[in-house]
């Protein structure tokens, strides 16, 4: 049994939730559905730790689905970069599920709870699949699985606030345009090369820099994924979706969905297309770089003026995505490493913050700042979590936020771009403003006399504090995350995704 699990770990991380989702539907009981989801997430989490341990020093694992060897068959391929993202997705899912069990009681009608768990599991499956697969078209398939279930999850917020429907519709339209662009891009590279396996693609594309089909394919793929990851001017769907989705969904999406999309962009830029291509370097220099800087400033600035806390955090997410793109745009292994570290660190921080805000909303029933005055006295643990998460958003030493900003600063200085490092520091000051605004309301404003607020139940506090403790733990003991990101970034930069892989399971027939 153990050897079966070990041999097939690469596929089991994806199919555990895939099987749990229909099982939950078949039983049709929300408690069984919850237990199944929790078991599947825990299993995927343990397996992704196992995978990360195998690849953390630069090895690559391959799994041949259906016993057909690539490029004919679909291949799953794990290196340090996607093992890290797998771990992020699985860990957040495991933290959010116990929270969701309580939080959806006030947000979603009881008859829909089973469906909620099924959709959640499918979304989880999709995100894991996008991350682990080594086949370009398979990315699209899993992307659709995760996107379609995400639209449903966002729309489930409609029972509390009808605006969730229009937010989900916006996301549906823009997300579908993104997916369509992505698949058009895939069609074009398939036309140019006749293959869809990533490793095979990179070998064949190496000599095709001047090919116009390949260039347009690159443009379509980047714009398509740009919509999915909310790169600055294409971020319009994000604030609405995060604001009106149920609390647990906001936390899960904010911590995973955009991260996975960023991973896909990195994978296509560095492992499928080559960074030696002139058009790719130009894209980084003239598109990613300026828009990343604009995102950091503009989105942070917009966040300052929000009166809805969830919307404020959503705009802050757009700004944080700016930091991640900035790391890629610096065009160095250190910069890429900064992006990967920030993927992990921001997932933990933003997940914790959305969970904490969700706990407040659970108790007072409103996401508006005006209704939160003085809650620091009534809900000390929840508000303390918000303070720690806020400090991490700003980048105060001792939190994960500091680690990522430090690595990013180093990368900027290494590239000789001192104005950029100055901008990173300046933009953190804007984060101070919006975090302080919230802290001031929570602690310094007087509590309304008729306030009925009480501390959130333990089932909400424990998951929140697990993530907050991770924020602190990985802020002090940053060696592990930085080491994995460095290895991952170096191997991405050297194009080592196609190196000889250790084959899990049986080797496929060619």
């Amino acid at each position: 049994m153990m050897s079966l699990v070990e041999n097939h770990a690469a596929i089991l991380v994806v199919i555990l939730p895939l099987i749990a989702a229909p099982l939950a539907m078949l039983f049709g009981n929300r408690n069984v559905a919850f237990l199944l989801s929790l078991a599947a997430s825990a299993g995927s989490f343990l397996l992704s730790i196992y995978l990360l341990m195998l690849v953390k020093d630069g090895a690559v694992l391959a799994y041949h689905i259906g016993g057909w060897a690539p490029p004919l068959g679909i291949e799953y391929r794990v290196d340090a970069a996607n093992a890290l993202v797998l771990l992020i997705v699985a860990a957040i899912s495991l933290a959010v599920l116990p929270y969701a069990r309580t939080s959806i009681e006030k947000e979603i009608a009881e008859k829909n709870h089973t469906l909620f768990y099924a959709c959640f599991l499918l979304c989880f499956t999709g995100l894991m699949g996008v991350t682990i697969t080594g086949d370009a078209f398979n990315v699209f398939v899993f992307l659709e699985i995760s996107s379609l279930s995400t639209y449903v999850l966002v729309a489930l917020g409609a029972e509390k606030d009808r605006r969730a429907l229009s937010a989900a519709y916006d996301y549906l339209v823009l997300g579908t345009i993104g997916a369509t662009f992505f698949v058009i891009g895939l069609g074009l590279i398939y036309m140019a090369t006749g293959t869809l396996n990533m490793v095979d693609l990179s070998e064949r594309l190496a000599s095709m820099e001047g090919n116009r089909t390949v260039r347009s394919a690159f443009a379509f793929i980047i714009i398509g994924m740009g919509l999915k990851l909310a790169i600055y001017p294409l971020h319009r769907w994000l604030p609405g979706a995060y604001t009106y989705a149920p609390s647990a969904v906001s936390a899960f999406l904010a911590a995973t969905a955009t991260k996975v999309a960023i991973y896909v962009v990195i994978r296509f830029m560095f492992s499928v297309f080559s960074i030696k291509f002139g058009f790719e370097q130009d894209t980084l220099k003239y598109i990613f770089f300026p828009f990343a800087v604009i995102a950091v400033f503009a989105a942070s600035f917009i966040a300052v003026f929000q009166i809805n806390v969830k919307r404020m955090l959503a705009y802050s997410s757009v700004a944080q995505i700016g930091y991640m793109l900035l790391g890629i745009a610096l065009f160095s292994a250190t910069g890429l490493s900064a992006t990967l570290v920030h993927l992990f660190n921001h997932a933990v921080t933003k997940g914790a913050l959305f969970l904490a805000i969700g706990a407040i909303i659970y108790q007072i029933g409103s996401p508006l700042m005006a209704n939160m005055s003085g809650l620091g006295k009534k809900m000390p643990w929840t508000c303390a979590a918000i303070v720690v998460g806020g400090l991490s958003l700003i980048g105060v030493p001792g939190t994960v936020g500091f680690v990522s900003k430090w690595v990013l600063l180093m990368a900027a200085l290494e590239a000789g771009l001192w104005p950029v490092s100055l901008m990173i520091v300046l933009s953190s000051l804007i984060a101070v403003v919006y975090v302080w605004k919230l802290v001031e309301i929570l602690y310094l404003e007087p509590l309304p006399k008729d306030s009925q607020a009480r501390e959130a139940p333990l089932s909400l506090l424990v998951p929140t504090w697990c993530l907050i403790l991770a924020t602190l733990w990985f802020g002090f003991a940053a060696d592990f995350t930085v080491h994995v990101s460095d290895i991952a970034a170096q191997s991405l930069f050297d194009g080592k995704f196609g190196q000889d892989a250790i084959i899990m399971g049986t080797e496929g027939r060619s």
Partner: protein, 145 residues
């Protein structure tokens, strides 16, 4: 619907061949054109036609909503379950070769199993879509037309 005699008679004649054709496409899928997607839709069309002519209420007696929803899930489970069986028999996920003594026979069994899963899910989804559209409260009363 009592007065639409022709519609009722034709429907009753048509439903059985449609279902039979659906099954033909389903089990023909491993050799020739066809397979779960097409078969699921054709099979659902038989019931949807019945529902359109004889009313949603009577269709819901045969396939209540909870059955339809479970069919959607069941199909996915058949597909993924086939993969799990392959793994238990010592192959990779969805490696049908291990299902029978000779590899190509195993491929046959595997394809039939997963196509059945696809067919069941597509059938369920078509029915669910029909229910959710046809089952919406009408904005106009029947008499107001």
């Amino acid at each position: 619907m009592d007065h639409h005699l022709i519609l009722r008679v034709i429907t009753k004649i048509l439903v059985a061949p449609i279902l039979l054709y659906g099954l033909y496409v389903q089990f023909h899928g491993d050799f020739g054109p066809g397979g779960g997607f097409q078969a699921g839709v054709i099979f659902a069309v038989g019931f949807i036609l019945y529902g359109i002519v004889f009313g949603l209420r009577r269709l819901r007696q045969i396939f209540p909503d909870y059955v339809v929803h479970r069919l959607v899930a069941l199909g996915v489970l058949i597909y993924a379950g086939t993969g799990i069986v392959n793994m238990a028999l010592g192959g990779n996920f969805l490696d049908y070769n291990v299902l029978a003594e000779k590899g190509y026979q195993g491929q046959h069994w595997g394809i039939i199993a997963v196509e059945l899963g696809v067919g069941v899910t597509v059938f369920g989804v078509m029915m669910a879509i029909f229910y959710s559209f046809a089952g919406r409260p009408p904005s106009l009363d029947d008499k107001e037309w």
